[in-house]
Symmetry: D3
Subunit: 132 residues, 6 copies
């Protein structure tokens, strides 16, 4: 497992990243989750990921819950346990009801099946789907 | 590549599946896309997949575009070219603007990165994210 | 795409590998399939893979068709188009009927679903399934 | 980890699914494995998966052990720990000897290698392997 | 396939990205490769990826060829055909000899096997490998 | 989890494999790591993997650290926790500094992004990258 650095023990660069995230989520810096405690000793990756995540998940034309569901879909397809646990929790926090979760999983599982059907039967892309 | 069976040459079981899909999408049966032409000779898989897809993608508490984006996310994570082409086209048809597409891709790429960060640094799941 | 070297143009080490495979399959050396034509310029990988494949797919306590189906399952899960095409053809040659193919695909798709259910819902392994 | 619901605490829809599975495997309902205890709060996914699994794994032209090995192959390729543990145990129960397991793993590993060789060297599919 | 925008037809933001890359590689802007022609209509993703790539692949304590081999390894593991073709070409340009390529592939294939052995046999991590 | 067999309890074939590895790494046989303790009851896979690993990782035109980084890249892309832990430790032992690790991770993450960009936007391979 990664060595987890608590907020009080982080170097200034790492503290700065955590401060920004904590403010955005209205939590205290020492409530930050483990991925940031693990990244604290990898400041280049940490800063770049924090910045990319903020740009990606911030307000825009897609609503916050849709973005969480997209993030969660990718994490399930890639089998990333940490990300499934953390972004599942965040999706719930952003309004995912039990009913939405059921529907979400139904789509994820249908997509998994559709992906393998297309690959296993070697289905060629329709001309109509090619960019013009 | 798969052998593609045109609608007029399909057996009754396959025709019935295509008829239902075509009605739901307001297209003519012979405009059906390739995955169904490929599945026409595999009626068990075809019927089961058509039924599952209908149940998953139909109306519910998640809107149709969100469902398409979830489907597309899984397909990108799995690298399924056919599914990326077809569900990209369907997402556009269901209202995905250029701006939404940009945001969607930003989330997909951030998730890919987050997944690999969590796995590469072996981050343990926070107690707060465990089910109670 | 890989540069394909025809049998007559192969170096002796590559020819030796192809000769052994051709004899085992009762085909002429120049009927060898593309993977070997591509590997002809990579003799170390070629020899090692040929040897490993022979050891794995040869006679034993699992019958040849079961072995082909296992190979095909892995290839579908990994989305390897070349391998799906070639080992699909080999499975047919070794006795896979249309009915068996349908059943095989049903199991592959159920497994894909089971895999994603277990990961998405974060199911812990039963004590009964742990090695004693 | 998922919240596991014991049989006695399940809602009627979940109990019905477990009853059917338990009968089919000649076990008591409270001996059901974790995946079903986790799915008990997701009845739509639970019912659909139970039905699909039964249809896929039931008697047919492929024998039960071959079906388990196909399921296990997909699970290894996808890196699903729960499924490897559970279907490894089931394969042993359905007659997989130590010798068969060795041969099975040899094929899985050869397939992994063949998959990556085909992709890394970008081998084009042989004309002979294309559907006519 | 993606719609490819030639340099002369790109919007200023896209042209600026291509100019920087072309200068760094000592090529003319209209010799830029397809990924950038495809990204030209997705300027946010394009700018961010160009910047990340430059930061990652630029001079540092790892030499340029090692970085290309790491990029290529990931691309093979993920089965990304475009990336295997393009970064294979770049590795050759940065000094990968035929002999190095053979050795590289031997390591990639051994890693694939090691990965599947560890997962299939469910090997627990050694205490000695855990972070202290 | 796998059943781990300690060196003193291994059969002669397994002991012979461990002896060779231990000698090569200048460790005592009972300090061997878990993957070999797990493989001890699977002698065919064990011998073949040990031999392949030795041939791949041994001296050649690529230096030992580069080989470790390639192995680690594949393991991260495949999400193999055991291999990330063990080959991360080995890379450190073979000279990977903290700075190199940062750069390595930057390349791995850029590659993950490049892979998904190429697949999601369906970028066709440049003619210049095709083998002649």
């Amino acid at each position: 497992m990664a060595k987890l650095v608590e907020y009080k023990d982080m170097a200034p660069r790492a503290k700065a990243v955590v401060d920004t995230i904590a403010r955005g989520r209205s939590i205290k810096p020492d409530e930050i989750n483990n991925v940031w405690k693990a990244l604290a000793v990898h400041p280049d990756v940490m800063e770049r990921f924090a910045e990319e995540l903020k740009a990606a998940m911030g307000p825009g034309s897609l609503d916050p819950l849709t973005k969480e569901l997209v993030y969660l879909s990718v994490s399930i397809a890639n089998g990333c346990d940490y990300c499934i646990a953390s972004h599942g929790a965040m999706a719930a926090k952003k309004g995912m009801t039990v009913e939405m979760h059921e529907e979400f999983m139904a789509v994820v599982l249908a997509a998994q099946k559709g992906n393998k059907i297309a690959q296993a039967y070697r289905v060629p892309v329709d001309k109509a789907f090619e960019e013009k």
